[in-house]
């Protein structure tokens, strides 16, 4: 009798486990949820970029301006930055061009957050945040490091199919979800 009960219990555990695994698998790898997760990550990427640029706004001339701590001193920059790294801010000598690029960066970050203009805004956001932190390497942390890597990886995903305020404008690269 006891033997039978064990088999019964094991059977029910097995069935339940299978059901749980099925659900987890559906959630992780099912097309709709996968796209939702990756789109959410993209939105957060835009939001944190925007937060970085907004919180540095008052100090932007000190951080990345043409005569800032690092950009105004090529020798110092080479002591802190990875050798092959590049930055748009190092190539800007006029403060007007600098201001234009800084404000444009904020717009790219907002567009990425809201999910407008697809991978185009994602790419421009990557370029602008990379430029910002490579022009001021002492301001970066491990989170920014992840952000860069995630930014490149997101370029290979359908991260514009969800979490967007204007689905028609995100259609630039939109692939229909099965």
């Amino acid at each position: 009798m006891g033997h039978r009960l064990e088999i019964c219990i094991l059977n029910s555990i097995g069935k339940n486990l299978a059901a749980i695994f099925n659900n987890v698998e559906k959630y992780l790898f099912g097309p709709a949820y996968g796209v939702l997760g990756i789109s959410f990550l993209r939105s957060i990427y835009g939001f944190t970029s925007l937060a970085l640029l907004v919180s540095s706004y008052a100090n932007r001339y000190l951080f990345v301006g043409p005569n800032s701590v690092f950009v105004g001193d090529e020798q110092l920059l080479s002591k802190f930055r990875v050798e092959e790294a590049w930055s748009f801010y190092s190539w800007m000598s006029s403060s007007l061009v600098f201001d234009l690029f800084y404000h444009a960066s904020m717009v790219f970050a907002l567009l990425t957050c809201l999910g407008i203009f697809g991978k185009l805004s994602l790419f421009l956001n990557y370029v602008s945040t990379w430029s910002f932190l490579m022009a001021a390497p002492a301001l970066a942390d491990g989170g920014d490091n992840f952000m860069f890597i995630a930014g490149i990886m997101l370029m290979f995903t359908r991260c514009y199919n969800r979490v967007t305020v204007a689905p028609s404008l995100a259609r630039l690269v939109r692939v229909p979800v099965k």
């Binding site: 937060a51 800032s68 110092l76 802190f80």
Partner: protein, 208 residues
């Protein structure tokens, strides 16, 4: 797309991902023979867009309060007293709940750079303590880091404190590092007890 091209693409993607994951494991992982032998190749592959390091918590986690003060020499020869450039930024960071300014990181990363040690050189030096060539490499590495640290902090101070000199031009800066080690674990309930305070001054550094 024909199925042959599709298969090739799938294989290429897996190869790319495999190489990427393997390289980041080698780069961020602890020291091992593969890292010693193939470091430069793997580094070149990952640099600059995929580099990462995990040195925040290991091997030398921050376990003290670190600050820096700065003394300015103006172009007319007058000198200012030591000015604390750390505390106002810490106060500012603490008073901001969300997304505070990152200005404090210039100071903390500047001081941190001074104590940064190359992991691989440390590992090699453990095994050959009496080797003079290794000692030279270690000292060289240390002086490069100290120079970078002082360069950053004095450059930042000369930009930030440009109003301190009456005629507006700063000739040289002198830094004072202050390190406050925490009292030990056994004194954790004694709120008045202070840890050991160490301080040292650098030479005058002329602003270029």
């Amino acid at each position: 797309m024909s199925s042959k091209i599709k298969k090739l693409l799938i294989i290429a993607t897996f190869l790319f991902m495999g190489i990427y994951i393997f390289s980041s494991l080698i780069l961020t992982g602890p020291n091992n023979p593969i890292k010693v032998k193939w470091y430069s190749q793997i580094y070149n592959l990952m640099s600059p867009h995929f580099l990462q390091n995990w040195n925040l918590f290991a091997p030398d986690p921050v376990a003290d309060d670190r600050g820096v003060l700065v003394k300015l020499q103006c172009s007319d020869g007058s000198e200012t007293p030591y000015i604390d450039i750390t505390t106002p930024l810490i106060d500012e960071a603490r008073s901001t709940r969300f997304f505070g300014s990152r200005e404090l990181r210039i100071i903390s990363n500047g001081i941190g750079k001074r104590f940064e040690r190359d992991e691989l050189i440390q590992e090699i030096s453990k095994n050959s303590k009496k080797d003079n060539a290794i000692h030279e490499i270690i000292n060289n590495n240390r002086s490069i880091n100290e120079d970078a640290s002082e360069h950053l902090l004095s450059r930042y101070a000369s930009l930030k404190l440009s109003n301190e000199c009456s005629n507006g031009t700063i000739k040289a800066t002198k830094l004072r590092f202050v390190i406050h080690a925490y009292p030990g674990w056994s004194d954790r309930k004694d709120w008045i007890k202070m840890g050991e305070i160490t301080q040292w001054d650098t030479d005058w550094r002329y602003v270029s």
